[in-house]
């Protein structure tokens, strides 16, 4: 029973990395990044439930991760909107202005 939930976290992590690397749309990359955050959160909550029931330090860390992920999603979407306004396309391989 304890092994199933970290397995689910590992699956979400790998799917998130796969989607982040192979997505051609910027918003889909941000969605896969949120999947990665949720995979880490699932692991932390499971270990906090099984090993740290008195002091729920894992849950507090998850609260911090959720808040920081929300702030990062907001800024990422603002950047996506600014880029789309200027270049009128959302393909992630066309934003190479900063390349040398």
């Amino acid at each position: 029973m304890l092994e199933h939930v970290p397995n689910l976290g590992a699956y979400l992590f790998c799917i998130g990395i796969f989607g982040l690397v192979t997505s051609r749309n910027m918003v889909r990359a941000l969605m896969c990044l949120e999947l990665i955050f949720n995979a880490v959160n699932i692991n932390l909550i499971t270990f906090s439930n099984s090993f740290d029931t008195q002091e729920t330090k894992g849950e507090i860390f998850v609260i911090f991760i959720i808040a920081i992920a929300a702030a990062e999603a907001a800024i990422g979407l603002a950047i996506v909107l600014a880029i789309y306004r200027n270049k009128n396309s959302t393909r992630i391989d066309q934003f190479n202005l900063l390349k040398w």
Partner: protein, 200 residues
């Protein structure tokens, strides 16, 4: 203290259903061509994860997950998708290039490595040690009050820094995403402000 007192097979069935929801939802996020479908499947993944937090005795984090992830992050993602979506293909699933196949091989090997590490860990030994330690400590029931107490005593500095981060992110997102007003001179050598109406 469990918020839901369930029998063991019902617990297993609920967990199984939630895991199926998470697995299918994450596949839908990654594989669909239509990004609106992906955004709604992401909402399904967040809801299933929140329900499994309820089953794992983490009630406050489950409520925070619903409020923040489903209620704020998913809504922002759906609104951004609605603003910049240009449907250009009629197939449901995109075709894979050679880079996609290599990434799939690498990610599946990483997943198999992680699963083998998880199954080789002696979980029963670790739970024996922590349970014997927990019997020696004071036994007060864990609840939301304890989380608040820890946030304001032991984790006070990260809590305050988190509030600063949220403030900076709020201001920064507004500054980045607002529309620009162009100032230019017309023929009469007067300064004229022209508003940019291309995107909302």
């Amino acid at each position: 203290m469990n918020i839901i007192e369930l029998s063991e097979p019902l617990h297993e069935i609920i967990f199984f259903l939630l895991e199926i929801g998470v697995i299918l939802g994450s596949l839908g996020v990654v594989l669909f061509n239509n990004i609106v479908y992906s955004a709604f499947f992401l909402g399904l993944v967040f809801s299933c994860i929140s329900l499994s937090y309820f089953a794992l005795n983490a009630e406050f984090v489950a409520a925070a997950q619903i409020l923040i992830y489903v209620g704020a992050v998913n809504v922002s993602i759906v609104s951004a998708v609605m603003l910049i979506n240009k449907p250009n293909s009629s197939k449901m699933f995109p075709s894979w290039a050679i880079g996609d196949k290599i990434t799939f091989l690498i990610c599946s090997s990483l997943f198999l490595l992680l699963v083998s590490v998880i199954s080789n860990t002696p979980w029963s030994n670790i739970t024996l040690i922590t349970e014997s330690k927990a019997l020696l400590e004071v036994d007060f029931t864990k609840n939301v009050q304890h989380i608040g107490y820890l946030l304001l005593t032991q984790f006070l500095l990260p809590f305050e820094l988190l509030s600063i981060i949220l403030l900076v992110a709020l201001i920064g997102a507004i500054v980045i995403a607002r529309r620009e007003n162009f100032v230019k001179t017309n023929r009469k050598r007067e300064l004229q402000i022209k508003k940019d109406f291309t995107v909302f």
